[in-house]
Symmetry: C2
Subunit: 158 residues, 2 copies
DNA sequence: GGCGGCTTATTGACATGTCAATTACTTCGC
DNA sequence: GCGAAGTAATTGACATGTCAATAAGCCGCC
């Protein structure tokens, strides 16, 4: 009699899975909370400001920005509205495509990013890089690559 | 001259960090989307239903439930309101503490959980367990434990 | 037996995320 | 050029998450 392929995770596999996702979530949440307390900004703000800081002329079309940071456009649009209200970015009309806009980093936005960057990177170092042995760090990169590959194949097939 | 401790991650360390968090986020998002499409429920719903399913008498005090799944009480309260509107759980008054409530799994809730469970576990298997070699799976558990420990010490010191 | 302080649970205000629909413009094919 | 199809960006409706404030009941201690 042929043996049927096991379909569901064993309890040990499930335990690892839960530890993994819960830890990743706790890490995300702790870094978000520090960013908020130390620099009054959300991880989303930081991501957007980082991308704009690295962009030519500190400006990007929303679509390019969305592609750079891997967000849906609608999400970005809402977020930019909030950031604009706080003076971190400015919207300008695009010269070459009148449907379009350009998002420009303001001086305030650049200041805020400068102030947030060092503490944030220190926190990443403390909670991730320094917590792991060199071997574990390599393993983390390896894991991420493997999981990402599976995700991409799996979504492609859909 | 004493050497000052390096404070910020190197670019290679940062690359691994970004891969790691972005992959964890993509995995979370893909599983959420499948759960929604296959079973019309959010990960939060699933988490709550799982805890109630395993509870004695399919009922728990909100505080116990919050502790079990690691949520803040306010978050849970909002979420239970939404689940109650959809008939997945019911609130009852607590006999022994009249401040309190008891959250009871409804028949509908139990059905919904039964229907969601197998496909969800299959997805976990496909996207996580089966994607990894046995060594990688062990490494994932090891990573989670190490990072969790650092998070706990770090938060404790605060 | 009653008061001060803790615990329980909810609520409101607001930030964030997703999805579908809309608006306005560009571009392609003829 | 002109209409169909595609693209850029925003919007509205709603689900989810956080924080601070509130209401209400429990409990220890005098």
């Amino acid at each position: 009699m042929t043996q049927r392929r096991r379909q569901l995770p064993t309890s040990e596999e499930l335990r690892i899975w839960r530890d993994f996702v819960e830890t990743a979530e706790a890490l995300r949440s702790e870094l978000a909370s520090r960013l908020q307390n130390e620099s009054s900004m959300s991880p989303g703000d930081y991501t957007v400001l980082l991308a704009l800081s690295e962009a030519d002329g500190h400006r990007l079309r929303p679509s390019e920005l969305a592609a750079t940071i891997g967000w849906e456009r609608s999400r970005l649009s809402h977020h930019l509205g909030r950031m604009e209200r706080r003076g971190l970015v400015r919207r300008e009309n695009c010269a070459t495509d009148s449907r379009g806009a350009e998002i420009v980093l303001t001086a305030e936005g650049a200041d805020a990013f400068r102030g947030a960057s060092i503490p944030h990177l220190r926190a990443v170092r403390e909670l991730f890089v320094d917590a792991l042995s060199p071997g574990q760090l390599t393993a983390a990169g390896d894991l991420a690559a493997t999981l990402r590959e599976r995700l991409d194949t799996s979504r492609g097939r859909r």
